[in-house]
Amino acid sequence: MAAQATVSSAPPRRRRFNRDRLTAILMILPSLIFIAIFVYGFIAQTGYTSLTDSNALQQLSRLPANFIGFSNYNDMINGTLNERFRTDMVNTVFFTVLFIVTCLVLGIGLAILLDQKVKGESIFRTIFLFPMALSFVVTGVVWKWLFNPTSGLNALPTLIGLPRGEFRWFISQESTLNFFWQDVPTILGFAVAAILVLAAVYFWIKKRSMVAAFVMAGGLLLVALVTFGDPNSLITLERPEQKGFNLALIALVVAAAWQMSGYTMAMYLAGLRGIPEELREAARVDGASEFGVYLRVVLPLLAPITLSAMIILGHISLKIFDLAYTMGGGDNLFIDMPGLNMYFLTFRGQDFARGATVAMVMLVMVAFVIVPYLITQLRGEKSL
């Protein structure tokens, strides 16, 4: 790379070239400064605010806010008053998992069907993708009407003489898979351990590398720690607080998947079109059935797309705001999300410090998903 650069900036045009290079940097500089301030400067400021006790009173007094360390974060996890935050975290996890799974299944299913050289493919594609062009606010308003418990979707079966649906959709107050907030460290511990063990098995089968042994040891150690230690004591909240999967979230998943599964389909379809026909033909010649061709040849090649789609969908669901706002309005905690909590804390409650705390938690969750993705995407691009 360096050698090439010296060759191409050979003496005759060097002066001119350098002046142009300077112009180029000057042209992009304003954008870089804007991003530096509006993204990184503001994030730093939000981070600092989350470590203070800034609120409306403090702002009125015109005195600087007190630095109180991580106690806002502690309050969110353990404080009696912040139950909403904990409900939102649980909601986010269930919503994200269900939303991703629904979009992936629908997306790959539709993409494979459309890949069968069907007539009217472009019409189908247009239908599956059009919700992407809409605002989440439009989606929310329309689906709220469709989810009306006494009519809407519930009334559809009556059109063909079946009994009316009984599910109350987004105003349902039922929940399942219930647990207590105090159980969260145990659940998280086992979840992480399970991931480590699975990763170890994967490493061993694929690469036979010794890393597998270390990862496996880490996983088993974590299992031992969670089983014999007392992880629940990490939560200092006294009152047992029940959490669970609120069935009302299903309504949110249906609306969100209606909007986004076409996007997943488009990603998969682009991937499918990139697979050379010869590969499939070769498998067919080897006697594979059409189903077998997909299972053994096509699906493994689509794995990177699945990962990209999971990350794109995941970061959307972690920061979802508009849809939950339109359907829940901030009063319906069964479909509440951290983005809404942040909005109400900050703009209705004037509790800037706690609003900033929720915002930082959201940022960390999204960064966890996005940063490794950005790094791998841009690294893989080096050849360009």
Binding site: I28, F34, T49, S135, V137, V138, S151, E281, R284, F321
Partner: protein
Amino acid sequence: MTTSTLAGQKRRPYSRILIYSVLVIVAVAFLLPVYMVLVTSFKTPDQVDISTMWVPSIAPSLASFNDAMQELAPNFGNSVLLVVPATAISAILGSLNGYVLSKWQFRGANILFALMLFGMFIPYQAILIPLVQFLRSIGLYGNLGGLILVHVVYGLPITTLIFRNYYAEVPTELLEAGQIDGAGFFGIYWHVLLPISIPGFVVVVIWQFTQIWNEFLFGVTIAGNNSQPITVALQNLAGSQIVEWNVQMAAAFLTALPTLLVYLLLGKFFIRGLLAGSIKG
């Protein structure tokens, strides 16, 4: 290729029927909300009955659209006044940035680009509190100017990304030819790159138009009462609980109409922008 599919079709006629039935059923399901919006908005309030929700009106009326139009007209105007300059400015800046990042690579450019891209994925809640304070301090809080600035800045990552990838496909020889002719940074941009940039601009303009038109969080936190974009007005209308369903549905339809038209007319470019959002596509 064709022969193998024909053979496939002959071998399995039932699977073809199955494929089409599934596709049609899913397509109908996807269109149900559209049907509901249209059926409801063509009714008068007294015709909106929960028991006949799915049945079209015998005497369709345009009254709901009229009501919705009156409610939303000022906000529709706000959205237009917001979208046009914000889209134009962010497209131009993105094009220049993309040109620099693809053809004038400097040391550290890739890292700066990655740092820039991160700005496209963050939850905007994480910058909202300082943003509001900042806009207030420079007098851009509560008006369209502030919203335009915000959409331009946070639109930079995606517009830069799309143009960078677009210009990366342009052969460097073309630029070198321009250089030999004595063209500098701007000469090459103006005479070589810009004339072939139209498809790139179409993708970026459609993408930004759709994003900004549909945006809600900045609209609800930064705009003032007189500068609320249409999504905020629609949410207020739907959340007020006193507006009839037929008007709500007509309002949702009007809000969706501009982006929907763009999608139907220029879908190919829309999908290109969509896939650019997943970086490599």
